[in-house]
């Protein structure tokens, strides 16, 4: 599970905030980075994996928390209420209660540092399940892809969690196919995927991408970028030829699926 901290001048933008279970580790990492810098939070998709620690970050860094709270349009509910869901909550965060929502836009660049020039281009990806934004950071040539490109997992906790050369990369087309079709992208089997293939190809033509930074799994770097875009394109091409699994998947038992994962 990944959270990214974009540091620019005297500001840190925390991009996606991860799960509650990782809260203490995340806050420990951020304490080392933040120091006297101001902090803001971006929630690029209204899902647990992006939301869970937003409140904790706001409360932890309340003295230097930027009151512009960057969120997806579907998070229009007041953040102090929407992010108040912990089992032991004693009430809404007063830090978040004072926040102003700044909506993600695919036509207006979002500044990493409100007082700087480094911007994030938010993109509405053709490949998505729920309301989702990807984002491109031109300063580092990083594409943040949310729930896509999440297929690089390792058997050891120590990783490495950045894959580049083929010898560090366990990925195969079969792993990509399983990750997509047995997970959130079950509907791609038998789907009309051509427009998705075209949109992704165009995206990688328009942006020079050195890093693919997904919410889950390893960061895909350097020469691995084109290799993984190729895996995705090939899977999408093959998936369109397959029969749909949409009806039968609704009847599948999770115990069977977990055993085969």
């Amino acid at each position: 599970m990944n959270t990214f901290a974009l540091v620019e001048g005297e500001h840190v933008l925390v991009y996606s905030t991860g799960y509650s279970a990782h809260r203490e580790a995340l806050l420990a990492h951020l304490r080392k980075i933040v120091g006297q810098r101001t902090v803001s939070v971006a929630i690029p998709r209204p899902e647990w994996a992006s939301m869970c620690n937003a409140r904790a970050i706001a409360d932890e860094f309340h003295k230097n928390f930027d009151q512009q709270f960057v969120v997806h349009q579907r998070l229009i509910n007041p953040p102090h209420l929407l992010l108040d869901f912990d089992a032991d909550s004693v009430g809404a965060s007063s830090v978040l209660a004072g926040c102003q929502l700044r909506m993600l836009s695919s036509t207006t660049r979002t500044l990493v540092d409100p007082n700087g020039e480094r911007g994030l281009d938010f993109i509405v990806p053709e490949l998505r399940l729920l309301p989702t934004n990807w984002a491109y950071d031109s300063a580092t040539k990083t594409l943040f892809t949310g729930d896509a490109f999440c297929w690089v997992w390792k058997d050891e906790e120590t990783g490495p969690w950045l894959v580049d050369a083929p010898e560090t990369d366990p990925t195969t087309l079969e792993r990509v196919a399983h990750s997509l079709s047995a997970g959130r992208y079950w509907w791609l089997e038998g789907a009309a995927t051509q427009s998705i293939r075209v949109a992704i190809a165009r995206l990688f033509e328009n942006y020079e991408v050195r890093f693919i930074a997904p919410d889950h799994g390893a960061v895909i770097a350097g020469e691995a970028v084109s290799r993984h875009v190729g895996y995705l394109d090939e899977y999408l091409r093959l998936a369109a030829r397959n029969p749909s699994i949409g009806i039968e998947a609704g009847q599948w038992k999770t115990s069977k699926m977990r055993a085969s994962a």
Binding site: I76, L83, D86, R102, M103, A191, A192, T254
Partner: protein, 278 residues
């Protein structure tokens, strides 16, 4: 500042809870959604089914209505004098599971069942009270059961639907999702009581927002399976998480069938410009 959120509209008095079938309560309240320059209302509903021995929740609502839902739950449990034993969730998204943690803390005998793939990471410490459940499993409330049912229409692959076996109320989670217009005073109504709701159009809009996948698949097998499932289960009432409940499933189905078919006509990329850049 550019891209600031629009000011929220004043919301009407909450019409919930409402008993939509004997012993089946609709909980929560409407949430405003800004769509293409207009305000719509959508529900992220929770439901409670009360048996002779136990009560069950189906869905728990979005976190922002957590205080509302918990107060409604407390009141109904007190009135009916049964404990909360089951918290069923169709899938582990925040608009369905927003109060799971607080409910598990408040009701220590209760367990959560459903598609719960990442809930242990959202609510650490409750791993032993959060469980997958499979189609065909039943849970006894005394005088009625909750049957776990396949999800015909879903976003997450292992989503589950549920059926109250006594009143034949189907809880289809993301199925039958549609909004209503802010000014039309349709909050808290059955679909059959709200004739101004353009159900096919609202289902298509909801698909554009949340069910992007419907634009890439042949939707007809899903419609057919839905029809078959309704007959197999003898569904009388439909209690969707994101729409007004349907009191007369059999006679209202044609308009919803049209709505499902319209979902496959979305041209998402064009519509997204409207949605995302308000």
């Amino acid at each position: 500042m550019s891209n600031s959120a629009p000011a929220l509209p004043e919301m009407p008095h909450n019409a919930l809870p409402r008993e939509i079938a004997p012993g089946v309560f609709w909980l929560g309240e409407c949430s405003p959604v800004h769509y293409a320059g207009k305000w719509l209302h959508t529900y992220n509903s929770a439901f409670m089914v009360v048996g002779e021995k136990f009560a069950a929740m189906v869905e728990t609502g979005i976190p922002s209505v957590g205080n509302v839902v918990i107060a409604q739950v407390e009141r109904i449990l007190e009135e009916r004098g049964v404990p909360l034993k089951y918290i069923f969730v169709t899938h582990s998204e925040m608009s369905h599971c927003g109060s799971v943690g607080r409910l598990l803390r408040r009701y220590p005998e209760a367990h959560t069942y459903g598609e719960i793939s990442d809930l242990h990471l959202v609510y650490p410490g409750f791993e032993d009270r959060i469980h997958f459940c499979e189609p065909g499993e039943t849970s006894d409330l005394g005088g009625r059961e909750i049957l776990t049912v396949e999800s015909v229409f879903r976003d997450l692959i292992h989503s589950r639907w549920f059926l109250d076996t006594k009143e034949r109320v189907l809880f289809p989670g993301d199925g039958f999702a549609y909004s209503h217009v802010h000014d039309d005073k349709e909050c808290g109504l059955f679909a059959e009581e709200a004739p101004k709701v353009d159900i096919p159009t609202q289902m298509q809009r909801f698909a554009t927002l949340a069910f992007h996948w419907t634009g890439y698949v042949d939707i007809e097998p899903y419609v057919q399976r839905l029809d078959d499932l309704f007959v197999e289960l003898g569904v009388e009432v439909v209690a969707p998480t994101h729409g007004l409940p349907i009191r007369d499933a059999k006679n209202s189905m044609p308009i919803f069938r049209e709505g499902f078919r319209g979902m496959s006509d979305i041209h998402a990329t064009e519509l997204d410009i409207e949605i995302y850049d308000i």
